[in-house]
Amino acid sequence: MTALTLTRSERAYQDFVRAARGWWAGPLYRDMAGDDTRRGAAAYRVFCGLEGALQDLKYVGTGGLTHAAARQRDALVDALADVPEGPATLRLAPDLELPGYFTDVSFHHQPGGTTATPEAGFVYEYASGSTTRMTDPATDMHARFAARAGDLVAGGGDVLDVGCGFGKSTIALARALPSATIHGVDLSRPLLQLALLRARESELALHFRQGRLEHLPYPDDSFDLVTASMVIHEMPPAAMRDFFAEAVRVLRPGGVLLCLDFYVLAAHDLAEALHRGHSRRNEEPYLEQLFDLDLPAELRAGGFVDVGLEASAQRPGSDEWSLPWTFVTARTAGGPR
């Protein structure tokens, strides 16, 4: 499998960054939330000061991922151009105009985001395993997301994974729904090319397309399930509303929308402040706007019924700081489901 490969020194550097993040989310957070208010105040300042710095170290520090990727650019680009044979497909849209809300802002401190270089997908893939720890085997959010999806459509049907990125969620869906036909759509060409590579390596029949979520490139009534994992917080409210309308259009009557995203259902003051601050410190330009929305009302206004929200701890039983992971489900009217 072609992937971003780090030198021993770079691995040591990234191990340190990961360990520092573990300290930041664990002992430092517990200091903040503890009874010693003087220590808590100091911890709060350090916590805020380090949040973006940890991301910067990961990407552009001495052992940062972007340096490793630049060094391996030729090999990584070759791997994207010479994917193995297999049933997975990719249809790019060379004339697609990327929206300004995606190109004109920074996300997550990754220089240039996921479209600036051909190898950007490999960087994002590596980084996604070290920021939120969402891919820890014991607590894999994608696997839990896919299992929830499987429950909703009884393991089959036509599924569209929007904002599919490099295919992590799409591949998890394919494994959880073995009899389903699964499509993925995303804006980023580098991510989609990596998604194709990973699907081919896994010999999965996934079908990827490049497109905007506000103008999904699929006919009406095409899908039984639309999934969006970590997507709607990357969209400004107007684009999110357009996406909801498009999801209603491409879903069949009684079809289901399943989102996993960050949405505060209930939080004490400190947690709420940290969630909101995260949107600024981690370059999540639309996250705070999402927090301010009445998401169920937005979904109902978009044409959905049976809206449900359910908090889902990133690491059940853990007292570490984590984002407010929330499952969102909604159905289109009519149909037997």
């Binding site: 340190f16 300290w23 000061g49």
Partner: protein, 86 residues
């Protein structure tokens, strides 16, 4: 050429004690510096292993444990909280 054994003096304890009046704005710089230290200590550890594998004498580095990122983080960063001016 620098005597490699002098690098062992760059210990986490010495690093953490270097600044006891840290402003939180410098926390990021200390974090970056400590990451560099961990990387350099790992390089030195590998060099030591290479010397030993080739039948050489590791001198003052003999028995040096593999650098532990989590331990270094705790040692250095824990002090940030107690040393930040209020």
């Amino acid at each position: 050429m620098t005597d490699p054994s002098t690098l062992t003096e760059l210990t986490p304890d010495r690093l953490a004690e270097a600044d006891t009046t840290l402003h939180p704005g410098t926390a990021a710089a200390l974090l970056a510096l400590t990451a560099e230290v961990h990387m350099l200590r790992t390089q030195l550890y590998d060099l030591r292993a290479q010397v030993v594998a080739n039948g050489g004498d590791a001198g003052p580095l003999a028995g040096w444990p593999e650098p532990d990122a989590a331990a270094l983080v705790r040692l250095v960063m824990d002090r940030l909280v107690t040393e930040v001016p209020r």
